[in-house]
């Protein structure tokens, strides 16, 4: 968090007659936004460099008139206010920064005329194929044309012809005729994705967006260009022609791909998810997300989804499966393998289960290569949640060697495995054969295939909860679509198992869980699920600063080792 600006850095600007105090240098488009005044724009994006090429944000600008001798602002005798020297020409808002006494007008005849002119120019060679365009409904050109255009065309010439349906890469399709040449995608690729592959060829109105010869737009952020494209030029090959955007419901969620905790939006209709897009969070992911995370919704309706409870491989009702599991737990010699992919709430229930059983819990680490942007090295989204809830005290293990030894020694007879494939975590088939496994998970794997009891669970899109990301930021996700018919909420299943081995009933609802969580975990004191702000809340992670976390530096994140001297 940046500290509040010193009073000296604040300036008063006047926008359409209203005074506004903002930090010096604030972009005029952003300043106007604070007053609820929209300055329409296409090429400007708060996270990219300013190029000022669309000319849609033209505004009138003025500065106080100064007395030539005293250099003091002149006062208009009639109004008692400072006299303003208005510039004869319209200026672009996106390249205008707040300075003391800056005056802006966004509603004059000149400004209106400029917007009309730019809108007409952008439309003359545009195909106007909104009825078959995927962007319709979320198209800036459509919106601004309605609001700022003339409503009729004076263009009777032939429109320019440009390439259609170009595959820029494996995930992005380009329609050059729709492109308004704002260059957002080019700047994004160069500045954010650090993969300079896009550029314009030809000149003037024949300018055409394309990849450099021999290159493809195939980096892991290529779909962000689709998000920021103000028109329907860049479309997602996956989403295109699937659904009209105005039919889709948006649910805020969190990306589970890694510990970055990218804020996302889940777009669904009638229980089916159609796409995932980034949700802007300037402290975490800005307006970006990885391509690899955007396909995670496909796991919801995957072929290998676990849809029913089984006992010994035979379909069973949920209640009988819980009963069978409870009997195994009651027999003792239990080990619990929790998960860094479970939510904070699930991890807390897992901890309650383990403490009722008086056993400790193991967690499996999942480490990949970080990309320095939004894909962190820790592919578990919620390892810090397990630390905060007290489920574990040390970082997860790569292989469950201690558990393997305990099984070999005959000390463990039953293993509760939550979301983790035990064979992938280092247990041999022979070791698995020696124990009864109670498996809780969403998809089939080697462990679920041989488990004594299988209790299917929900994907992140079908339930609500929270994660703690690499920054120790507590962020919540909400249920976007209903889960499969016979699958119970993870919290219910876990609470039932925990209740079965406890003296008292364990709460299975978010509110109930948070009452205990807030009381038992110091850093969560005062929190509850419903109190977590839309963009999350920073927790105090100082207690764990000494742990050797695997994440490297990335967008808005510096490992503790880089920010503070190593904890003694």
């Amino acid at each position: 968090m940046s500290s509040a600006p010193k009073p000296a850095d604040l300036v008063t600007v006047n926008i359409d007659g209203q005074d506004l105090v903002v930090p010096k240098g604030t972009n005029v488009i952003e300043a106007a936004k604070q007053l609820g005044i929209e300055i329409p724009h296409y090429c400007y994006h708060p996270k990219l460099t300013v190029v000022g090429n669309c000319r849609m944000c033209l505004i009138e600008m003025g500065l106080p008139a100064l007395d030539p001798t005293t250099r003091q602002p002149l006062i208009d005798a009639a109004t008692g206010k400072a006299k303003v020297n208005w510039m004869p020409r319209a200026q672009i808002g996106c390249a205008t920064n707040a300075m003391a006494g800056l005056h802006i007008r966004t509603n004059t005849p000149l400004v209106k005329e400029c917007r009309e002119g730019v809108t007409e120019f952008l439309l003359i060679n545009h195909p106007l194929d909104c009825p078959i365009c995927d962007q319709a409904g979320e198209c800036k050109l459509q919106e601004h044309s309605t609001e700022h255009g003339r409503g009729y065309s004076r263009f009777v010439e032939n429109k320019n012809v440009k390439p259609k349906r170009t595959q820029l890469g494996p995930r992005v399709t380009l329609d050059d005729e729709r492109c308004i040449l704002c260059s957002r995608c080019i700047r994004f690729s160069k500045e954010i994705a650090k993969d300079d592959v896009l550029g314009f060829i030809d000149r003037g109105s024949y300018s055409t967006l394309t990849c450099y010869p021999g290159k493809k737009l195939e980096n892991n952020y290529s779909l962000c260009t689709v998000d920021i494209c103000p028109v329907g030029a860049l479309t997602s090959t996956d989403f295109r022609f699937k659904m009209r955007v105005w039919f889709l419901k948006q649910t805020p969620s969190i990306d589970t791909e890694s510990s970055t905790g990218t804020n996302i939006e889940v777009w669904s209709r009638e229980g089916a998810i159609y796409r995932l897009t980034p949700r802007t969070n300037n402290d975490v992911n800005d307006s970006w997300m990885t391509d690899s995370a955007r396909v995670l919704y496909k796991q919801v309706r995957a072929e290998d989804r676990l849809l029913e409870a089984t006992i010994g491989g035979v379909t069973a009702t949920h209640d009988s499966a819980i009963k069978a599991a409870a009997e195994l737990l009651a027999a003792g010699s239990v080990a619990v393998v929790g998960s860094g992919r479970s939510s904070v709430e699930e991890q807390f229930l897992t901890r309650q289960l383990a403490s009722a059983l008086k056993v400790s819990t193991s967690l499996v680490s999942r480490v990949g290569e970080g990309d320095g942007i939004l894909l962190s090295a820790d592919r578990n989204p919620n390892v810090r949640g397990a630390l905060v809830t007290g489920l574990i005290n040390a970082l997860p293990e790569q292989k469950l060697t201690a558990l393997a030894a305990a099984i070999d020694a005959g000390k463990v007879k039953t293993v509760v495995a939550i979301n983790e494939d035990l064979t992938a975590a280092g247990l041999s088939a022979a070791q698995l054969a020696k124990v009864a496994v109670i498996y809780l998970g969403t998809h089939r794997n080697a462990t679920s295939d041989t488990a004594r009891v299988v209790l299917p669970t929900l994907t992140v899109f079908e339930k609500s909860g929270s994660f703690v990301n690499q920054q120790f930021r507590l962020q919540r996700f909400a249920k976007a679509v209903p889960g499969p018919q016979d699958v119970n909420d993870d919290l219910v299943t876990l609470a039932q198992l925990a209740s079965a081995v406890s003296q008292f009933a364990v709460a299975s609802d978010l509110a109930g869980i948070w009452t205990t969580l807030a009381a038992e975990c110091a850093v969560l004191a005062g929190q509850s699920y419903t109190k977590i702000p839309a963009l999350g809340v920073q927790l105090d992670g100082a207690a764990w600063a000494g742990l050797p976390f695997v994440e490297g530096e990335s967008l808005h994140f510096k490992p503790a080792a880089l920010t503070a001297p190593a904890n003694a």
Binding site: V50, N53, R55, A95, G117, V118, L122, E157, R203, G204
Partner: protein
């Protein structure tokens, strides 16, 4: 009143029989002597001379050269670059090409004096792609100058070093716009930069302070330092000092380049006395006085020009003295000195169609109004010429041009809209009668 005689400063020796463009010939005519004297003076002195001279940029905008040099950020600690704008692409202008071909050492001497004055350690000559011969001549001349210690390491035996690189463009009008030129020089597409914040004097080439001057302007610097700023300022008229090279093309008997004291010759003297008047049996119809971007003047126009003493003098096109201020007062500009003459055989719709094709082809495509507007105007005039003119096309053309001028990143917005605005304003009747002879509009193929 017959025309005054030419005052040849830049063209002092050019066209002299036996005058060649090698260094031996240049030195025989006193070449590099001014530079030797200049290097014995403190740089600030030279900047003062240029300021006193009042010389205005000969590239088109007419911005005072001395003021441009004063605006350079000298406190940044970054190197200062000098870039010679030899991208002479304005239709109707051909003076810089001639200087480079005939007298390259005069330019090099002017560049080195300017480099010394501004503590520049590296200069670039950005020459347009269509001048391959000029580039070869410059390369050879610079090598000659290096061999004689006028360019390169330890110039004239001092510890001052400064080299000149020749950079060839790839053939784009927009590279004549100084920030577009800088982008191109950096190896990028020649997209002009937004100002603010990218004023070349502060954030120019490689984000360092940069001076961009026209070829002719830098040649004038040599003569200013030679005769002193005050003496130079006595040539021409106040605020329009020095000499100007006029490139006369089009329908006159003797087109060509002529060098005169600025403001001491009128349009009539230039076209009738110097260039021999219209072709036999023709009469003058219109003239573009400062390169194709300047607004056109109609020969029967009358102007009320305010004089220095406050009085107002009414004059016709032929009475206009050819200086920056008078031409600006007449609603056009002195620009690059390219005088394009059109006689009564010219169809103004077709002439505008020709210019519009040029600007549509040369718009870089960066910002919306010029990109879309220039091609739209071209499509309209092409359709008119093609026989599908409509009565209100003139009005539409003017309106499209109005939507471009003053709303673009660079001056190309004005460059492409001023011809249309002035043609329609002054020859609107021709645009209307053109429609009457056109094919019926319902034969228009609408797509």
């Amino acid at each position: 009143m017959s025309a005054p005689s030419q005052r040849r400063l830049i063209f002092a020796h050019i066209d002299e029989p036996g005058y060649t463009n090698d260094i031996a010939c240049y030195r025989k005519h006193g070449g590099y002597e001014v530079m030797k004297r200049a290097f014995a003076r403190p740089p600030a002195d030279l900047i003062d001379e240029v300021k006193k001279s009042g010389v205005r940029g000969r590239g088109g905008a007419g911005f005072p050269c001395g003021v441009k040099w004063t605006l350079v950020d000298r406190k940044s600690g970054k190197p200062i670059y000098l870039v010679v704008n030899a991208d002479e692409s304005e239709p109707g202008t051909f003076k810089d090409r001639y200087i480079i071909h005939q007298d390259p050492h005069q330019l090099i001497e002017g560049v080195m004096i300017s480099c010394w004055a501004n503590n520049v350690k590296q200069a670039y000559i950005y020459i347009r792609g269509e001048f391959p011969h000029g580039a070869r001549i410059l390369e050879r001349a610079i090598q000659e100058a290096r061999d004689h210690k006028f360019v390169g390491k330890n110039i004239l035996g001092t510890d001052y070093s400064c080299d000149i690189f020749v950079h060839r463009g790839a053939g784009a009008y927009i590279c004549g716009e100084e920030t577009g030129l800088i982008e191109s020089l950096e190896g990028k597409r020649a997209y002009p930069r937004i100002k603010p914040p990218y004023f070349p004097a502060v954030l120019g080439l490689y984000q360092c302070p940069t001076i961009v001057n026209n070829v002719e302007t830098l040649c004038h610097v040599k003569h200013i330092v030679d005769m002193g700023g005050d003496n130079y300022a006595k040539i021409g008229t106040p605020n329009n000092t020095g000499t100007r090279i006029f490139c006369v093309s089009g329908h006159v008997q003797r087109p060509g380049y002529y060098e005169y004291e600025t403001g001491k010759i009128t349009m009539g003297q230039l076209l009738n006395d110097v260039c021999g008047g219209p072709l036999p049996g023709r009469t003058f119809k219109a003239v573009i006085p400062g390169g194709s971007s300047a607004k056109i003047l109609r020969f029967d126009e009358r102007f009320k020009i305010k004089q220095k003493d406050g009085s107002v003098v009414e004059m016709g096109v032929l009475d206009l003295p050819l200086d920056f201020d008078t031409l600006a007062a007449a609603g056009t500009m002195g620009g690059s000195g390219g005088v394009i003459v059109m006689d009564d055989t010219v169809n103004m719709v077709e002439a505008l169609g020709n210019l519009n094709s040029f600007y549509a082809h040369e718009s870089c495509g960066q910002c919306t109004p010029c990109r879309e507007g220039s091609l739209w105007m071209k499509k309209i005039t092409a359709r008119m010429v093609d026989g599908h003119a409509r009565p209100n096309d003139g009005e539409l053309l003017k309106n499209v041009a109005d939507q471009i001028a003053g709303r673009t990143i660079c001056a190309m917005g004005e460059a492409c809209s001023w011809p249309t605005q002035s043609f329609v304003a002054k020859f609107g009747d021709e645009f209307k009668t053109y429609a009457k002879s056109a094919k019926p509009t319902d034969s228009l193929e609408l797509v």
